[in-house]
Symmetry: C2
Subunit: 253 residues, 2 copies
């Protein structure tokens, strides 16, 4: 990746590192090597580590390290068909594990990080969530008034399941994430995502090449949505380029 | 419920029935009794039946019966904390099972019904989905271009998991559902839901009394959102009242 960026700087303005999340010592070394020696502009992680949630204390040093480097973490969902949708079944049918399961995964990972106090510990941490913030913008109302009542749906004997020391309303922390524009072509959804995170926290992203055309489709549709969305031209430029230049610390053109 | 409607017609213009889904014979009898003898204007079911998906053939007669009566089915999510979010855990933490799990449940139930061909069998079936269509409007792009490629993410030996005989694009069927306005106060989300389903398929609903004020909060916030949403006044009236009068076959005022 570093070689590609060096060779084709006009086409690849930067890259991010993949990490061995099953070994935190090696992971932190790779973060430093990728950023300091290879020039990586951040890292990508998945929404769970071999089925374990990201808020387990073992993973905390990774978030601390990226906060120290002041470079972003891309959060990508991961969920297989073997995560069944019904207790009476062994696998998820009709690729529901993908179409809805992946955004669910991202959303729960966000929730776990919020309630574990990741943004109290590292207020400047930058986490870019895939699929335009997953379920959070559309369910802003549930996250807000709903999670303000956390604990009320949980019986006393399960109180440890909802124990948290966060200092502000849950919704305030959910707004501290960043989001890409990868809603695959849906203007109203993109507007909803931008309304939730604000124009300074939405970055161009397409999920290329996973469209039916195997490449150009989602790029074209994403650009169309950004053009059609009710957004000021200067804000559009932030989404296309400015926010990325700022977060990735790329030089201005 | 029938007595309340009879006693306070100005306050309760109609009611819907609850059903014994664990016994289809009794269920169908109760549908007919509730509608024909008591005047119910439809039924409410949950997104699973004791953990079983709604597209199991055993439940098909219920959908047929409501299509015959030409009255709506309200689809409400159900999912407990014991549906864990990670294979390494026994329960869902921080009420994620509720805030994101419930809309996931509704979305998967919609997907199962779509791919089982419920709308090919009963094109006039009216299913009103809770929380403004759950995840479907925000992930319109995933449902559209994503599920157009159904099967491509599934290995050959699991081909039965994605087998379907539906005649049109999956997205076309997802648009045949109806949705309530219960996004708990989020204008952009409501606009996204209306954009997806169209103004003729969105009906006023609030989830009262589950707001922090235990009643008035979600009603007030939902009305505020409908007023603030970019919707023509005549369309607003459809959402408040007209669509419900049509679907529930209530007399015009």
């Amino acid at each position: 990746m570093a070689e590609l960026v060096a060779k084709y700087p006009d086409r690849f303005p930067g890259f991010v590192a993949s990490l061995p999340m099953n070994n935190m010592d090696a992971c932190l070394k790779e973060v430093d090597r990728a950023i300091q020696q290879l020039g990586a502009r951040g890292v990508q992680i998945f929404s769970n580590v071999n089925g374990r949630p990201l808020d387990e204390p073992e993973f905390r040093p990774l978030f601390e390290r990226l906060a120290t480097h002041d470079l972003p973490i891309w959060l990508h969902p991961a969920r297989p068909a073997t995560f069944a949708d019904y207790p009476t079944e062994k696998k998820s049918r009709y690729e529901m594990w993908w179409v809805f399961g992946w955004p669910y995964e991202t959303s729960v990972a966000m929730g776990r990080l919020v309630f574990a106090g990741i943004f109290d510990a590292f207020p400047n941490l930058k986490i870019i969530t895939h699929h335009t913030g997953a379920m959070v913008p559309y369910f802003e109302g549930r996250v807000a008034a709903g999670l303000d009542q956390i604990g009320e749906r949980t019986p006393e004997q399960d109180a440890d399941l909802v124990k948290t020391n966060i200092r502000r309303r849950p919704i305030d922390y959910f707004r501290m994430f960043y989001a890409d524009t990868a809603v695959f072509g849906a203007v109203a959804a993109l507007e909803c995502g931008i309304a939730f995170f604000g124009v300074d926290r939405v970055l161009f992203g397409t999920d290329m090449p996973f469209d039916p055309e195997k490449g150009p489709g989602f790029i074209r549709e994403t650009i169309r949505c950004i053009e059609d969305a009710s957004v000021a031209p200067s804000d559009r430029q932030k989404i296309y380029e400015g926010n990325a230049r700022r977060l990735l610390k790329l030089p201005a053109k």
